[in-house]
Symmetry: C2
Subunit: 193 residues, 2 copies
């Protein structure tokens, strides 16, 4: 039957709070309150706030990887169209989310990437896992002549995904999808053959 509280719930709620409000702006107490768990339970599950951040990053990384694969391994579309549908979905979801947070990995990278070694490494590792999935799709597109082959697939994959992070920065202050849409249009124009 298990105990009263389960880690998954704490991770879920913590992920959303930190993704939308930032790392230093969300206290342990706030997470505890939202989860309705006492402090003892939290520190039974997690050593420190830093470790907690790494755990939600890894969890977010794994789940997102599966979601990315759901789009990029879909053989009913051409590789380029798979990529397009993936980023079109990200933009739609951001709008539904009311432009609140964007990607947890990006949020933590920007806020604590330079300050905290463990969080930085965890964020980077998970990012590179995504890049591998994206690069495979890019390579397929290159082989089918849909995508430019003037750059290695990993370069294009990083360019694509990090590019979306730049767009998130603009999204957060403009509270609109306009620049996300422009970014999408221009980037796919540039990498299409």
């Amino acid at each position: 039957m298990g105990y009263k509280h389960n880690i998954e719930d704490i991770l879920d709620i913590g992920t959303e709070l930190i993704r939308t409000n930032g790392y230093h702006n969300v206290g342990i107490n706030q997470i505890l309150k939202a989860c309705a768990i006492p402090k003892g339970s939290f520190y039974n599950f997690f050593e420190t706030k830093e470790h907690f951040a790494c755990e939600i990053l890894n969890r977010y990384g794994e789940r997102s990887k599966k979601m990315i694969e759901g789009f990029l391994l879909d053989k009913t579309l051409t590789p380029l169209n798979r990529l397009k549908s993936f980023y079109a979905m990200i933009i739609d979801v951001s709008e539904e989310d009311n432009y609140a947070g964007g990607c947890l990995l990006n949020t933590l990278s920007n806020e604590v990437g330079r300050l905290n070694d463990e969080i930085a490494e965890t964020a980077n590792t998970n990012f590179l896992v995504w890049i591998e999935v994206i690069a495979n799709c890019v390579l397929e597109g290159q082989q089918q002549g849909e995508i430019i082959d003037s750059f290695p697939p990993e370069y294009i994959a990083e360019y694509l995904h990090a590019g979306s992070y730049g767009a998130f920065s603009r999204m957060k202050v403009t509270r609109s999808r306009t620049y996300l849409d422009n970014w999408y249009e221009m980037t796919f124009n540039f990498i299409s053959k």
Copy 2:
């Protein structure tokens, strides 16, 4: 002769602290300590921490505008080469800075852009001032046939500068200029005619 403390020093030190450590991670007390000023003076100059953030944003915005113009109005280079030299400089400076903070405007946009209306608007306003300067240079480049004209100059300007923000996110976790360099190479390859 003036009083003992001057606002400029507080703004300078506050800018650097927040740019490199983030908004919520830097307390008023920390800024006071670094400036060696008492609290009364700080709150005599600035209403709240939020207002202080807006002031350093505006100051950073104005100074950066002048610096951008220093590069982009330099008639000894072609428009495209002016843009290239500007972003090459940004990357070099980031390396010298040990990849610490990147752009204050981007840092604040990402961390508090969605949480704080005043800071968001201030960040966006200053960003758009830069975009205007960059767009003028892009337009010149288009007129001289150096830069693609398949997109409006403002679109290319935003694409350029927001793109560099995505690269900063990667820089902070990798602690290297590698992705900044790749971004530079690819972006200028895409927008060159």
